[in-house]
Symmetry: none
Subunit: 226 residues, 4 copies
DNA sequence: TATGAATGAGGCTTCATTCAT
DNA sequence: CATGAATGAAGCCTCATTCAT
C-alpha cells in the first residue's frame, strides 16, 4: 500500500508523506474515527515517527487544515485575472475554486466537513480562510455595483449577505460535485444527478444563478413576498 | 440531573427522552465523541435501558436522523401554501425551513454537520431527505417557468443544477445563522455580521439573490464568460 | 493469584481489594514502574473497573497514601496511654509505630519511599502526616521538660529539631527492620545485621539512644566540639 | 541548550557532562520518569552518544550512583581528623556529611531517594556505602566506650543498633535540610522550621541528641519502660 | 567522534456493550 | 420496567534503544 518501503528519508519529505496520509484518512473517516495507526500505516512509517514530527493528533489535524486552506486560497487567488472586470474576476475565481476542490477532494472534505465539525480550535482556522474569501467576493460585488454606476442601491450589509450566500452556494455545489464523483461504490450518487459537472460548468451555473440576479438588484428591482 | 428521577415511565415517553438527549449530545460532541454514558445520564436513565430500547449507538443515531429529517420535511411542507404562485410557494418553503432550523438548531446540526460526516449508513438518510427537497424546489422552478410561459428556455438538467445551488445556499445560510446565534463566547460569530437574521429576512435575501436571476434566465438572458 | 474469581461483588469491597493490590504493587515497583495492568490483575478485576471506581493512576495513588497514612496515625495514637508520663507516652507511641510498620511493611514503604519521591501532590499528604507526628513528639519532649522542672533550658526551636531527629531515626529504624525482614531472596539483609528486632526492642533502642541524652540536655549539659 | 555546542570533546569530559546531566535529571524526575532524551539534551549531546559511552539507562544510573556514593564517602572520610578523640571524629564526620549533602543536593537525592526506591540492582550499591559508614560509626562508638573505660557495658549488637539509628537520624536531618532549602515555592518547607541549618549546627544538634545519651548508656544507665 | 532517522513495546485511558438481578 | 457490576477492544502517546552515515 503506502509508498514503497524506502528507509532514511529526509524529514521534510517524510512530513509531507505523513500529511498526505493524514488528509486522506481524516477525509475518509472523520477526525475522531481516524486513527493515528491508520495514518502511520498509510504514510508507510511507524507511529512514533508521526509523533516525533507532528507531536499529536490535534497538531497534525491543525497542520493539515492550515496546509489545505493555504493551498485553496492560493489556487483561487492565482486563478483570477487581476485587472479584468468584476464579473470576469468572479467567474475566474469560481472556476479556480471548483477546479481545485475537484482536484483535491480530500483536502476540501477536510476543510468543509471535518474542520467545522470539531470544535473551535480547528473551526477558527477554516473560518478565517472563509472570511478572507467572503471579503474578496464582497469586494467584487461592490466593484461591480460601482462599475454599473449604482453604488447607492446596495447597502454594505446587504452586499455581505449576498457574498455569504454566494460562497455558501459555491461550497454546496463543490461538495455535491465531489459526492457525484465518488467511485461507483457510493450509493449517494444514485440519488439525484449522475454526471459530474466540469469546473467551468459549475462556475457558469453559479454566475447565471447569482450574477444575473445581482444585476436586477443593482437596479433596485427587489422581490417582495406580497 | 437530566430529568427529575421518575420511575416507571411508559416506553414511548422514555424513548423520546432518550432521543432528545441523543440529539443534544450528538450535536454538541459529534457522533464519535458522544458517549452513551453522557446520553444516558442526560436522559436520566441507566445505560442498559438505552440499549434495551435503541439497541446500539448506530441505531440510535440512525433513529435520531430519521426523526429530525422527518420533522424538517414536515415543517417545510406544512409551510407552503398549496395553491399559491410558484415564487410565493418557494418563499413560504424557505421561510418554513429557516424557522425550523432556527427553532431546532441541534437537530439541524446533526443533520447537516454530523450525519454527512460519518459514513454512508447515515449520509444516505440525509441524502434522501435532501433529494426530496431538491425535487420539490426543482418542481417549483419548472412551474414558475411554465407560469412565465417560457418552459422551453430551461433544460431539465439546468433546473436541477439551479435547485441544487438554491438548496445549498439555503443550507449555508441556515448554518451561518445558527453559528451567529451561539452564545457570545463563540469567536466564530465575530467574523462577518453579528445579528442573527430572522427567518423572513433570510428567505427574502435568498429570493432576491436567486429569484431575480432566475427571472432573467427564463427570458433567455444568460451570463457568459466572454 | 488474586482472590478466587468471585463475580458481582459490592463496590465497597471491590474498592478495598483494588487498594490492597495497589499498595502492594506500588510498594514493590514504585509509582511509575507499577502498571495499572498489574494492579488490576492482582486485584482480580479488569482494568476498566479500576478506572470506573478510582478514576486514574494518580487518584489511586493518592487514595492509597491517604488510607495508609490514616491507618498509621490511628495506630500510633491508639498505642499511647493518655495520662501516663511523657517518657512512657513516647515509648508507647514508638512501640505502636514499629509494630504497625512491621505489620504493614508495604504501606510503610509506600509512605516512606514512594510518596516522598514523586512530586508535591503526593508528598504533601505524607508531609502533613509527618508534621502531625512531629508535633506530637515535640509536645511530649516539652512536657517532659516541664515534668523535670527545667522548662527554660530548651528553646522551642531546639525541641523541634530534636523531635525531627527522633522521628527521622525512628523512620530509619523502621525501614531498616523491614529491609532485614524481607524474605531470604533479598541480598540487602546480608549486609549489616541479620535478625529483625521486635517493636519493643526497637523502641527501647531509640529511647535509650535519645531519651537519656535528652535528660542531660535538660540539665544544661551540652556537647561542644572544642 | 545545555552546554554550548562544542564538537570533538575528549571522552572523559563528555562522560562527565553526561553524568552531571543524569544526576540532575534523575534527582528532579526520578529514575523512571527521567528520559534519556532529557538527559542527552541537558548534556548537550545526541542520544546515540550517550548510549555509545554509557550503554543503557540502567548502567548510566548505576554509574551515577557509584560516582555519587564514592564522592560522599570520600568527603566524609576526608573530614575526620584521624587521631582525634572518638567524639571529635564523629563530629567531624557528621559535619563533613552535612556539608557534602548540602553542596550536592542532587547527588544526595539520587542516593537517598531514588536509588533505594528502584529495586535491588541499585539499592545494593547504596546499601554497601551505607554499611561502610555504619561500620565506621560503630567503630567510633566502640572506641569511645573503650576510651571511657567501660567496654563491657555495651554489647556489639547494641552498638550496631545505635550506629544505625544515628546514621538514620543524620540522613533524615540532611534530607530535611535540603527540603527546607528548596526555593520558596515548595509547600513542604512550610511545615516545620524555615531556616536551613548550617552543617555545623546540624552536626551539633545530632551530637547533643545522641552523644549525651550514649554517655549515660556507657555508664550503665538505661531507660526502661516500667 | 558524533548524529539524524527510525521503531517495537508498552503504559494510561475510554468506550460500546452485556450480565445478573 | 430498570440497574449496578463488569469487560474486550482499541486509541493516544512515550520511551529506551538501534541503524546508517
Amino acid at each position: 500500500m503506502g509508498a514503497a518501503k524506502s528507509k532514511r528519508v529526509p524529514r521534510a519529505v517524510r512530513e509531507r508523506q505523513m500529511m498526505d496520509a493524514a488528509v486522506r484518512t481524516f477525509a475518509r473517516r472523520g477526525y475522531r474515527a481516524a486513527s493515528m495507526d491508520e495514518i502511520a500505516e498509510l504514510a508507510g512509517v511507524s507511529k512514533p515517527l508521526v509523533y516525533l514530527y507532528l507531536n499529536s493528533k490535534e497538531e497534525l489535524f491543525s497542520a493539515v487544515i492550515r496546509r489545505e486552506a493555504a493551498a485553496l486560497v492560493t489556487a483561487v487567488t492565482a486563478a483570477v485575472e487581476k485587472d479584468a472586470a468584476a464579473d470576469r474576476q468572479l467567474w475566474c475565481g469560481l472556476t479556480g475554486f471548483f477546479a481545485h476542490t475537484a482536484e483535491h477532494p480530500e483536502g476540501w472534505a477536510v476543510l468543509h466537513q471535518q474542520a467545522r465539525t470539531h470544535g473551535e480550535p480547528f473551526a477558527i482556522e477554516v473560518a478565517a480562510m472563509r472570511a478572507e474569501i467572503v471579503r474578496f467576493v464582497a469586494g467584487l460585488i461592490g466593484a461591480a455595483a460601482k462599475e454599473a454606476g449604482c453604488a447607492g442601491e446596495l447597502a454594505d450589509r446587504e452586499v455581505a449577505g449576498l457574498a455569504h450566500a454566494l460562497v455558501g452556494a459555491a461550497e454546496s455545489l463543490a461538495e455535491w460535485a465531489n459526492t457525484c464523483a465518488a467511485d461507483g461504490t457510493s450509493t449517494l450518487g444514485v440519488i439525484g444527478e449522475r454526471e459530474r459537472p466540469t469546473a467551468k460548468d459549475a462556475a457558469g451555473t453559479l454566475m447565471n444563478f447569482a450574477w444575473a440576479g445581482l444585476g436586477r438588484l443593482m437596479h433596485g428591482e427587489r422581490w417582495t413576498p406580497a
